[in-house]
C-alpha cells in the first residue's frame, strides 16, 4: 500500500516532467471548457441582459426558469445530449457522439443558464441605476443593452469565470457524451475518475493537483478583477 505522501511525490514529479499524456489531457480539458464558456457567454450574456433590462410578458417566468436551470444535474444533461447525438437520435447523423464537440455541447448547456441567470441579476441592478438617465438621453434598445453589458464588464468577467470553474470541474455530463476515450475525449475529471478506479493514483492525483491550481488561479483572477474594478469605482 502506497502512502499518500509517496503518491503525491510521484504526482508532482509527473507534472514537472511534462508528461505528454498528462499535457494532452490538460490541453483538451482547457480547450473543451474554454470553447464551452465562450459559447455560453455568446448565448447567455445577451439573453441575461435582455431579461434583465426589458419589461415583457413572461419576464418573471423567464427569470425563474433561468435560475432553476442553473442547477441542472450534469448527468441528466449528459443523458439528454447522449440521446440526441446517439446513432438513433435526431442528431445522430452528425456523428458527434464520443467527440470533443459532444463534450462542448454538453458543457455549453450546463454553463449557459449560469451565465444567463447571473448576467440577468447584474444587468437588472445596473439598469435600475441607469434607466432614467438613458430614457432622458433617448437611448435606443440596442445601444442600451450594449452599454449595460459594457458597463457591467467587470462583474460579467467574474460571471464567465464562475462558468469556467463549474465547467472545468464537471465530470458527469462529459463522461457520458465523451466516453473517456484515450487520446480523443479524455479530460482531467474523467481521467481522474477512471484512473482512480484502476489504481493508477499518480496520474489521478497529478490531475487533481492541476485542477486545484486552476481553481485557485480562477479565484485569484476574480479577486484581482474585483480589486481593479473597485479602484476605478466600476464595481
Amino acid at each position: 500500500m502506497q502512502t499518500f505522501a509517496s503518491v503525491l511525490g510521484d504526482a508532482v514529479a509527473l507534472i514537472l516532467s511534462g508528461d505528454a499524456d498528462l499535457m494532452e489531457i490538460i490541453a483538451l480539458s482547457l480547450r473543451v471548457t474554454i470553447t464551452a464558456v465562450i459559447a455560453a457567454c455568446l448565448i447567455g450574456l445577451p439573453l441575461g441582459a435582455v431579461v434583465g433590462a426589458f419589461r415583457f410578458p413572461g419576464r418573471t417566468l423567464a427569470t425563474v426558469l433561468l435560475n432553476s436551470l442553473m442547477g441542472l444535474p450534469p448527468v441528466v444533461v449528459g443523458l439528454v445530449v447522449y440521446l440526441a447525438l446517439s446513432a438513433s437520435g435526431p442528431l445522430g447523423p452528425l456523428g458527434l457522439l464520443y467527440t470533443p464537440t459532444a463534450m462542448v455541447i454538453a458543457q455549453t448547456i450546463l454553463v449557459t443558464p449560469i451565465v444567463a441567470a447571473l448576467t440577468r441579476q447584474v444587468i437588472e441592478d445596473l439598469d435600475r441605476e441607469y434607466s432614467e438617465q438613458f430614457r432622458s438621453l433617448g437611448v435606443g434598445p440596442l445601444t442600451r443593452i450594449g452599454a449595460l453589458l459594457w458597463d457591467a464588464r467587470y462583474s460579467l468577467l467574474t460571471v464567465a469565470l464562475a462558468g469556467f470553474g463549474r465547467a472545468v470541474a464537471e465530470v458527469g455530463a462529459v463522461i457520458i457524451v465523451g466516453g473517456n476515450i484515450n487520446h480523443v475525449t479524455r479530460v482531467m475529471t474523467t481521467t481522474i475518475a477512471l484512473e482512480t478506479s484502476k489504481g493508477n493514483l499518480e496520474l489521478a492525483l497529478a490531475l487533481g493537483v492541476v485542477l486545484l491550481v486552476i481553481a485557485v488561479l480562477v479565484n485569484a483572477a476574480v479577486m484581482g478583477l474585483r480589486a481593479s474594478a473597485a479602484r476605478a469605482a466600476y464595481a
Binding site: E132, Q133, L137, G140, D151, R153, A232, A233, Y234
Partner: protein, 264 residues
C-alpha cells in the same frame, strides 16, 4: 401708500413681461396618482421660452415628480402638455435634457461619459470630438478627462452631469437640486454654467431649496405644496411679496414639512 403702489406697478410690469414670453412647455391639469395617493394634484405650469423657472417647496412636495412628468419620464394619470403650443412629440423630447438629483455616472471615463451622450444624439467624428473638448473646457474637467467618472468628487460629478446634458445642446434643461450638498465653490461653478447656458438661450427649469440661489438665478418661481402649486409668478414678485401662506412661511424661514412625509 405710494411705496406699495410703486411696488405693485413693478410687480405688474414683471408679470406682464413674463406673460409676453411665448411658452416653450406648458402643462394643464397634470395629475399623478400612485397607489391611490395623489402625489401631483392638478398642476398647471407654463415654462416661458428662454426663462429660468425655479421650482421650490418643502421636501416631499412633489418637485422631483413634477420634473419627471414634464420631462416625460413618468406618464401622468391625467393632464395634457404642449410644446410650443403643439403636440409634445419625440423631437420635443430630444430637445430636452435632465440632470438628476443624484448624477448618474456611467462606469467609464469622464471623456467616455460625454462621448456616449453625444453618440446617442447622433454626433460622430470631428464634430463630436470638438463638442467634447468644449464641454470639458467649460466644466473645467480637462485634467480629469481620462479619470473614471465615478471617482470624481460630488461637485465634479455634478459638473460633468451638467456638462453632459448641455453638450446635447438642449432647448430645455431640467435640473433637480443641482447644488444640493455642494460646497460654495462648487455651487458657484454650477450656477455660472447654468447662467451661461441661459444666456445662450437655453430654457432652464430647476428645483432648488436655496433662497439665495432663487434670488441669483430665477426669473420665475413655482412654489409647490403637497403636489399643488401654492404660488407662481415672476421671481421679483414672489420673492418680495408672496401671496400664499406656504411661500410666505418659506421666505420667512419658518420650516415646515408636507404631510406626505419628507424625502429628498
Amino acid at each position: 401708500m405710494r411705496e406699495a403702489a410703486a411696488r405693485t406697478e413693478v410687480e405688474d410690469a414683471a408679470s406682464i413681461a413674463a406673460a409676453a414670453v411665448p411658452a416653450l412647455l406648458e402643462a394643464q391639469g397634470l395629475r399623478l396618482e400612485i397607489g391611490g395617493k395623489r402625489l401631483i394634484d392638478g398642476i398647471d405650469i407654463r415654462i416661458g421660452q428662454g426663462r429660468k423657472t425655479m421650482i421650490m417647496g418643502a421636501n416631499g412636495a412633489g418637485k422631483s415628480l413634477l420634473l419627471r412628468l414634464l420631462h416625460g419620464l413618468i406618464v401622468p394619470t391625467a393632464g395634457r402638455m404642449t410644446w410650443r403650443g403643439g403636440p409634445l412629440d419625440k423631437s420635443a423630447r430630444r430637445a430636452q435634457a435632465m440632470v438628476f438629483q443624484r448624477p448618474v455616472m456611467l462606469r467609464r471615463s469622464v471623456l467616455a461619459n460625454l462621448a456616449f451622450a453625444l453618440k446617442v444624439r447622433g454626433l460622430r467624428g470631428p464634430a463630436r470630438e470638438a463638442r467634447i473638448a468644449e464641454a470639458l473646457d467649460k466644466a473645467q474637467l480637462g485634467d480629469l478627462a481620462r479619470s473614471p467618472a465615478r471617482v470624481l468628487s460630488g461637485g465634479e460629478q455634478q459638473r460633468l452631469a451638467l456638462a453632459r446634458a448641455l453638450a446635447c445642446d438642449p432647448e430645455l434643461l431640467f435640473l433637480d437640486e443641482p447644488t444640493a450638498s455642494l460646497d460654495p465653490a462648487s455651487t458657484q461653478a454650477i450656477e455660472s454654467l447654468i447662467a451661461d447656458a441661459s444666456r445662450r438661450g437655453v430654457t432652464v427649469v430647476m428645483v432648488s431649496h436655496d433662497l439665495g440661489q432663487a434670488r441669483r438665478l430665477a426669473d420665475d418661481i413655482v412654489f409647490l405644496q403637497a403636489g399643488r402649486v401654492a404660488e407662481s409668478g415672476p421671481a421679483s414678485r414672489v420673492l418680495c411679496s408672496p401671496r400664499s401662506e406656504a411661500a410666505g412661511a418659506w421666505l420667512e424661514g419658518r420650516l415646515f414639512l408636507d404631510g406626505q412625509g419628507a424625502q429628498g
